[in-house]
């Protein structure tokens, strides 16, 4: 990557803007995390101070952990998010490859049909989806969520990935064909590694909404066995009393896995950008 030549003034300005933005973006997270380590009174009395020996308390975390199933919720959220991302990326990339690579009747129409899915929110179909899940016996299974999220994520994934795949050089794919690679190998071994940054982008785009979603877990999988973290945390928010310690602790814990996933994907993203194209 060539270094952009900029004046120091512009560099400082750019950094200042980015730092200000970072502070604004991180502030709520910071407040949540520090307050999760405080007693209930301290949270309300001075919400912006760091916990000291007086106000420090792990009561929130204890409540959360005592709420026995919390690890299960974690696990459920993780399975649903990772599973959905896996299927979105796999099927999205495959469909994108077909649309980008092969000339066949209805190619355009298919692309447009998929693009339509980007504009129509899947929640409109909630009732129909619920009926389908009931009929297929998938209600209260994690599969219900994985399937719905996969459907929700696919249109945008196909759209973004096919745009990137069109840019992979034909010569490269043809070289693979002459070397005897099957179409599947060309897809998995030549094209996928080259569109990795786009895959990471799609993954990051889809990950957060899936992880945070309350709607579909509440409707399709509210049972104790299949609750996700977001749904599970709701027990601490009552109509009359809210256990703020527990809520804040649960939220703090919920940040960690997404952060880990994000680090994984963003590293891919950066590696892809810096590896550079080969002519």
């Amino acid at each position: 990557m060539s270094k952009a030549r900029q004046s120091t003034g512009a560099t400082i300005a750019a950094h200042a803007v980015l730092i200000v933005y970072t502070i604004i973006a991180l502030f709520p997270v910071f407040v949540i995390v520090i307050n999760s380590f405080k007693t209930r009174q301290a949270i309300f009395r001075e919400p912006l101070t760091l916990p000291d020996s007086d106000s420090f308390s792990l009561i929130g975390y204890q409540t959360v952990l005592k709420q026995g199933d919390f690890f299960l919720y974690f696990q459920n959220s993780m399975i649903v998010t990772v599973g959905s991302l896996f299927f979105i990326l796999l099927f999205g990339a495959m469909a994108a490859f077909a649309l980008a690579e092969y000339r066949f009747r209805g190619n355009m129409l298919m692309g447009l049909y998929l693009a339509l899915g980007i504009m129509i929110p899947i929640r409109i179909g909630t009732v129909a989806i619920l009926e389908m899940m009931v009929q297929t016996g998938l209600v209260n299974t994690l599969w219900a969520l994985i399937l719905v999220y996969t459907a929700q994520g696919l249109p945008l994934a196909v759209f973004i990935l096919s745009a990137f795949m069109k840019q992979v050089s034909d010569d490269l794919k043809n070289a693979g064909r002459i070397d005897g690679l099957s179409e599947y190998k060309i897809f998995f071994r030549l094209v996928l590694p080259l569109v990795r940054p786009a895959m990471a982008t799609v993954a990051v785009f889809n990950m957060i909404p899936i992880w945070n979603d309350l709607w579909f877990p509440l409707i399709l999988a509210p049972s104790e066995q299949t609750k996700t973290l977001t749904l599970g945390s709701q027990v601490f928010i009552g109509q009359f009393v809210t256990d703020w310690n527990a809520v804040l602790s649960a939220l703090s814990l919920a940040i960690l896995p997404v952060m880990a996933l994000y680090v994984v994907f963003s590293r891919q993203l950066i590696r892809g950008i810096t590896s550079g194209a080969v002519k």
Binding site: N174, I178, G180, V278, K279
Partner: protein, 336 residues
């Protein structure tokens, strides 16, 4: 045995006819060059030979076998692309061995062939590098190496040198000629650089708008072009075509004279004014506008003290002139 035989190949993309009725043979060990202007269908023809594209009609036979339905990897060909098309995430060595591994060759054979190719191309120091860490010329060599290790019956080169700078291009040109001598393989080489075509080819195929204009050895095409297109395409600077500038010219015919066959003389049959002088040291090129308002180029050997605006008279030897009719076809003069 013939290395390649094309029989009445046609190719259309939708309603656009890109190749029209192309028939052609390549003998064993022959170096055949396809030349033609951009968009004339050279790459398309090459891709049909490679099996990357299906012809709309016609048959392709490689080494005597009809291969229309044979996939690219099984045709006994190897191709070198203009863009190199190296696998960016594989090392130089893996780039070269991928095809052999797919063929299921034993390890010993793979090692032996790679070692040989690496030695031949002087790639020893780069074997573990990624393509992105190589220069253009080195990448091109790796791409050629990838083709060599397959030991194909027929090599296909699609403008392999067009991304290189002039000096490197000349080196690689010599290397490719050398390689052909060493391997003795049949080669089809696409280019729109006529120097490459003239210097490398045993046989040149001139294509235009999807059909073959003429096939022949470089000197045959140069000395005996079948039509105005071929005459103008080969040779640099290209041939002058005059309709009315020559005193005593038959109306309705076009006279073709190569720039090097024109000379300055007092009472030449062509009169004009010099509009530009190019001094190349060894040669001097004069651009002249004739009194009949046609442009021509004169190539003089040595250095001449001519200046722009100077009136001049030119002449040529009749045996060096070509005649073309209004359909751009050659009119053969009855031998004197």
């Amino acid at each position: 045995m013939t290395a390649l035989e094309l029989d009445k190949i046609c190719k259309s993309f939708g309603s656009v006819e890109v190749l029209k009725d192309i028939s052609l043979t390549v003998e064993d060990g022959e170096f055949v060059v396809f030349v033609g202007p951009s968009g004339c269908g050279k790459s398309t023809l090459l891709r049909i030979i490679a099996g990357l594209e299906d012809p709309t009609s016609g048959t392709v036979a490689i080494g005597g076998d009809m291969v229309n339905t044979v996939p690219p990897a099984k045709r006994g060909i190897a191709m070198v692309f203009q863009s190199y098309a190296l696998y960016p995430h594989l090392s130089v060595k893996d780039n070269m061995t991928l095809g052999l591994k797919q063929e299921g060759q034993p390890k010993a054979v793979i090692e032996e062939r790679v070692t040989k190719a690496v030695r031949m191309l002087g790639l020893g120091a780069y074997i573990a590098r990624r393509p992105s860490d190589l220069s253009g010329g080195q990448r091109q060599r790796v791409a050629i190496g990838r083709a060599i290790v397959r030991e194909p019956k027929l090599f296909l080169f699609d403008e392999p040198l067009s991304n290189l700078d002039a000096a490197l291009r000349m080196n690689m040109r010599v290397e490719i000629a050398d390689l052909h001598r060493k391997l003795g393989a049949s080669i089809i080489y696409v280019t729109h650089d006529q120097t490459e075509a003239m210097t490398l080819a045993d046989k040149i195929v001139v294509l235009r708008d999807g059909h073959v204009e003429q096939v022949g050895s470089p000197m045959e095409l140069y000395n005996n072009p079948a039509n105005q297109f071929v005459a103008g395409f080969l040779g640099s600077p290209s041939m002058n075509f005059l309709e009315k500038s020559v005193a005593g010219q038959t109306a309705g015919t076009i006279l073709g004279i190569r720039p090097e066959h024109l000379r300055l003389t007092e009472n030449g049959r062509i009169r004009g004014t010099i509009t530009h002088v190019e001094r190349l040291g060894g040669d001097t090129n004069l651009l002249v506008i004739t009194d009949a308002d046609e442009k021509l180029t004169v190539r003089l050997f040595g250095q001449y003290d001519k200046s722009v605006g100077e009136a001049t008279a030119l002449d040529f030897d009749d045996s060096h002139a070509f005649h073309f009719d209004q359909d751009r076809q050659r009119i053969y003069q009855s031998a004197a």
